[in-house]
Symmetry: C2
Subunit: 332 residues, 2 copies
């Protein structure tokens, strides 16, 4: 219920801000957390064109599909992906039931925050931590674990719950697209069941419109109680060229609007924009070291290099977080 | 455009039938092609209960999810699955470009209608025919192939296009659920991209609500033209225990209504109904050898055995096609 209330508060605040800043025509400023500038102008112009029934760029509602990356596009992703923070928090929470971890790698390193040893262990170490914290339970049990974690976990820099580190300008953009007849999807490298527990509250995107990486599930019937068990096997990584594949398989329509922030979104941006008719590609560029973080080509997390080079040639809109966003987080 | 017109005609005819049969209260008969009887009564009672805001069985709209099998549940599946007919028609259409098939199995048998040789070849033969006709092309190209096939192919018994052999009572049921705030999904063993080309026209179910078996896709970028290539590898079979797995992965909510017709739907019916709150399981029983087909426990296609035994114990509604359906096909 608090989730719903928080979402309502967001929408209300957004409405009031709109009304306050444009008392005559409320619809004149559907993106109050965006500063005036080329990014905002391009977005508003695009949405007005595709929804103008009498214009030549009109797109019928059934073809208005918009896809959003999540980490770094809709919420922050530093110092590491928040799902990675979940992994470390879970290892600590599970440690009392596993005294052997005090001497067993990679658990020992994870418990001691020994990143050097972890890095030396490579993907095998990370995969072991991931499987230990993400599999074995049913889908219902996992949802409870994530929900409970979100209630108590705090981001190390901001000391706030992770789901309060969502970007207010992007939440407004999702709402604006929805009000303009778009079906808005998340298409993220994050785990689909991790995101579904909080995405509807945070963004107004329901579970069936959350697409992500998946682990294998097994159907079980025990004493007339059916369950879906999360198995220790990765099924699909929804990143890079996997994003258009997931879009094709799950949505079955080509988006006309896509937003991302890293090279993992490059193919989704290409798939969305390299076609006829009105198309929009958006890249969130992390330029604000003060209010958020400043990184791109050299970052370990959310590396933005090839897509940044390709943006001008493709006509993608690069959002300069520092200049273009009046507000970064909600309730800042 | 003809597709849209045909769908409109269906809806209009349905509306007129409703108006004609219940001139005072149009909503009094939302299922005009269903005869009065226990099946229709159970369906109407369930939908009225879950949509009654003041009743104790009210279900909020976000939880109103309904899933339908396709083959044998929404359209016929005899003498073999219609997608199987598509395979044989495609082999014939492709044969002029493959003179070597005249001597090469399983193509020779497929071209000569030699079912005995095909059966002797087992799954390997069928898989070869499937891959030959379903893979190698892009998703866009495949959609054109299926659409063109539907325009010209005729069912051997009825001499009508396959997409006219959809069940009018089930189309009405889908519409009734949608009008009652349900999100209706297809969850079928058939290929997802095969179904998506015609499902919206036939049932009013858009591409993103069609779930089916999938083959692997690969993203390609050639001369700035992106495409999704269909590879010769099956990715997922959406049948039996695979159905609840696909529902969990793609919808992320447990349905409260499910309809099927064979043992391939058993686990989906369990997953839907073995939980608290109002739940509905429906089985279409093929009992009408005259208007459609009569088969269940012994059938090679759409075998209904275990699910038929389990139905009374679970409280599932078994629809007797002969008794319960006034009309089978549209425009019969």
């Amino acid at each position: 219920m608090t989730e719903i209330l928080r979402w309502s508060a967001r929408v209300l605040l957004m409405t009031f801000t709109v009304l306050a800043s444009a008392p005559v025509m409320a619809q004149e400023n559907p993106l109050p957390s965006w500063n005036e500038g080329p990014a905002k102008t391009a977005i508003v112009d695009f949405i007005e064109r595709v929804t103008n029934r009498n214009g030549q760029d009109w797109v019928p509602p059934e073809d208005r599909v918009a896809t959003f990356d999540n980490d770094g596009t809709l919420w922050s992703e530093q110092p590491i992906y928040f799902q990675g923070m979940f992994v470390f928090d879970r290892i600590k929470a599970m440690a009392p039931q596993h005294p052997e971890w005090r001497e067993e790698q990679p658990f020992k390193a994870a418990l001691e925050g020994d990143l050097k040893t972890l890095a030396a262990g490579g993907m095998a170490s990370l995969n072991k931590l991931l499987m230990t914290t993400h599999t074995g339970m049913t889908t219902d049990e996992f949802a409870v674990i994530v929900t409970d974690w979100l209630k108590t976990a705090r981001h190390p820099r901001f000391q706030r719950p992770y789901n309060e580190l969502t970007f207010q300008p992007m939440v407004e953009l999702i709402g604006y697209l929805q009000q303009s007849g778009f079906r808005t999807y998340i298409v993220s490298g994050g785990g689909v069941e991790f995101m579904r527990t909080w995405a509807e509250d945070a963004y107004g995107i329901p579970p069936e419109r959350v697409i992500g990486s998946t682990i294998k599930l097994r159907y079980e019937l025990d004493n007339d109680k059916p369950a879906l068990r999360r198995l220790s096997e990765i099924e699909f990584i929804d990143d890079g060229p996997g994003k258009p594949v997931a879009i094709g398989r799950l949505i079955g329509k080509r988006p006309i609007f896509a937003a991302g922030n890293s090279d993992g979104d490059l193919q989704m941006l290409q798939w969305t924009t390299l076609a006829s008719g009105p198309r929009f590609g958006l890249i969130v560029h992390h330029t604000d070291g003060e209010r958020e973080w400043e990184y791109d080509r050299q970052s370990m997390v959310g590396k933005l290099d090839k897509a940044l080079d390709e943006a001008p040639r493709r006509g993608w809109t690069v959002v300069d977080m520092k200049k273009d966003w009046r507000t970064v987080y909600f309730l800042q």
